[in-house]
């Protein structure tokens, strides 16, 4: 068992691509800041910046809450590679011994974090949606938001281990995972879930330039090119209104109606996995456990029965409106407003009357 006393501070892997920070990096700094204060005993939130000539990003990291920035800068780190990034991160974790290391659950975070955890022989929890240190706060969460009992837990038990809560079984079962015997405690966190802090212009912190030891032969994979695809702009995580379609649309043309609806209400088009798997719409629109987690002001679920993996990705929406022929569908049970009917008739009415309302 590791000597836990040696492990201090909360590290946030602040992912950058092409010299730009990913939004989840700032969200994680916000969460890391909160957790470091909850941890107490002088724990700091530290941004870990890996790349080539990316020092200019440090200022932004301080502005969003970082007490410290660990910078690993090397020409061979220009593009992300599993081998290069795993080596420098693992070396740094061994040298500085953070108590907790958080990553965004992006395609890169989910490639990098498991490799590092395996090399360090420590635990990693995937796709967390909530993190707690203080047992009392965790108990309050259980009481306020779940069906679980907090019996057997003691609010002031002094347990400072990270309680990592994540959806399991495709969604509606939640599990809290702990890493009792190894350090650091590692987690990936879903983008769009944690809140970034208000930007504090001119904030400063301590910069540590980490000595990077890396050579070409350490990297087994050659990056030939990195291509940005001009995808339809889908910003589900930021949308106030999402109009989502599922199997009940019947075919790809059904999404034309959803698009018209979304255009009318100023929303973004979402989709269930069933619709994506049927090839009716691109995967970038997918809401749910394997897609994007969303929390809009209004979520219109049109012809979506509500498989739990979909519900897991949208059930914290402020208002859910379900339109479905089947009143017993899980989505109709979950919805704040359930319209039992033919979406091909109801949606055109909503489109038309939305305008009428505006004219009044």
């Amino acid at each position: 068992m590791a000597n836990f006393e040696e492990y201090k501070n909360i590290w946030v892997y602040t992912e950058q691509r092409g010299g730009r920070l990913m939004p989840v990096a700032l969200e994680l700094l916000g969460e890391g800041y909160r957790l470091s204060r909850e941890r107490g005993e002088g724990a700091k939130v530290c941004a870990v910046l890996v790349g080539s000539e990316i020092g200019y990003l440090a200022e932004e990291l301080y502005a969003y809450g970082a007490d410290m920035v660990y910078q690993m800068d090397h020409p061979l780190l220009k593009n992300y590679t599993t081998d290069g990034y795993t080596k420098v991160m693992t070396d740094a974790i061994k040298a500085y011994k953070p108590e907790i290391v958080l990553f965004g659950a992006t395609h890169i975070g989910r490639d990098l974090a498991p490799r590092i955890a395996a090399r360090l022989d420590t635990g990693l929890t995937a796709d967390c949606t909530r993190l707690d240190i203080n047992t009392g706060n965790y108990m309050k969460y259980l009481t306020d938001y779940t069906t679980a009992s907090s019996s057997g837990l003691e609010a002031n038990d002094g347990n400072k281990g990270l309680k990592q809560t994540r959806p399991a079984f495709g969604g509606n079962l939640m599990a809290t995972i702990v890493t009792p015997n190894t350090r650091p405690q590692m987690a990936t966190v879903r983008p769009g879930v944690m809140e970034k802090r208000e930007r504090e212009t001119g904030a400063s912190g301590q910069l540590v330039k980490v000595k990077v030891e890396l050579c070409q032969s350490d990297i087994q994979v050659e990056v030939l090119d990195v291509v940005k695809e001009a995808k339809e702009l889908v910003s589900l995580t930021d949308a106030d209104i999402i109009c989502s379609g599922g199997r009940g649309l019947g075919n790809a043309e059904g999404f034309e109606l959803i698009r018209r609806f979304a255009d009318k209400v100023g929303g973004v088009v979402g989709a269930s996995r069933a619709a994506v798997d049927s090839g009716w719409i691109d995967q970038s629109h997918q809401v749910g456990q394997t897609g994007t987690t969303v929390k809009p002001k209004i979520y219109f679920a049109c012809g979506i029965s509500g498989a739990i993996q979909h519900l897991a990705g949208m059930q914290t929406s402020d208002i859910i409106v379900a339109i479905n022929k089947d009143p017993e569908a899980p989505m109709m049970q979950l919805a704040d407003y359930a319209i039992c009917g033919d979406l091909k008739k109801v949606i055109p009415e909503l489109i038309q009357q939305w305008d009428e309302e505006e004219q009044q």
Partner: protein, 262 residues
């Protein structure tokens, strides 16, 4: 060429429902299936075999004895051989411990030129076992593979990103994890089903694979489940009244406006 494909038998999470009374999963009658991404991994291996018929494709899984059914499905699709790692000592393994067991099984069954796996399983959704096998075997990895081309001793692959992709060149042997964009898995063939029915699926214990028992199973796992529960269901919503779609739409919009939601 010798290719391993790591597969997992999973409950079809699309079929799982929650018991609203108890807040627990209803698993009765839920079919067990070959994990979706793993079918894409197997298909890619079979495509290599189609092009190079002297290729041997071996599917490997860890699980309870009933996972044999899924392995038979893999054989019926065209895999040559199947190995089940099954032992009480392996039960309750988290991703780290699972990777130790699978890496040991793959070492015994290998050496392999290529190891394919699905990106993630739909029950746990962690996407950790593929990379962790690669680490434990000291091999290069590429995850989220959406295109694959063999090029002598190298593979050229496309790795999907949220906003595009990377093209990567990697020397064999390596571990690649597949996503559904990679291909369309084939169906089982009739000769395949007949062959699979008679196939002798190897079942290996922890002792058979020679894995250090302090690195597998529940007790060895660095992560533990502390609590599991269901989120509190939202209060029951309202059913929007109306005899026609027009009335329903009008009533909904009136209520949303009255509450200043729109």
């Amino acid at each position: 060429m010798k290719i391993a494909v790591c597969v997992k038998q999973v409950p079809d999470t699309n079929e799982i429902r929650i018991n609203p009374e108890t807040g627990t999963l209803i698993r009765d009658g839920v079919p067990s299936i070959l994990n979706n991404d793993d079918a894409n991994a197997l298909e890619q291996a079979l495509q290599v075999k189609d092009a190079q018929p002297d290729t041997e494709v071996i599917v490997v899984t860890m699980g309870p004895p009933q996972a044999k059914e899924m392995l038979q499905e893999c054989l019926a699709m065209g895999a040559d051989d199947a190995i089940l790692l099954s032992d009480r000592a392996l039960g309750g393994s988290d991703t780290w411990a699972t990777s130790n067991a699978l890496a040991a099984g793959l070492k015994k069954a290998g050496p392999f030129d290529l190891i394919f796996a699905g990106r993630q399983a739909i029950d746990g959704d962690t996407a950790q076992v593929g990379p962790q096998i690669a680490e434990k075997m000291g091999l290069a990895q590429v995850t989220y593979v959406k295109a694959f081309e063999l090029d002598g001793a190298f593979a050229t692959v496309k790795r999907a990103l949220e906003d595009g992709y990377e093209t990567l060149r990697v020397k064999l042997p390596c571990v690649l994890t597949a996503i559904k964009e990679l291909n369309t898995p084939r169906y089982m063939s009739v000769p395949g089903i007949l062959k699979a029915a008679k196939a002798d699926i190897k079942v290996w214990s922890a002792d058979d694979i020679g894995v250090d028992k302090t690195t597998v199973g529940l007790k060895a796992s660095p992560t533990n489940v502390f609590r599991s529960f269901t989120p509190r269901p939202k209060g029951k919503g309202v059913s929007v009244e109306g005899d026609t779609p027009k009335e329903q739409a009008a009533n909904l919009l009136a209520d949303l406006r009255a509450k200043h939601i729109i």
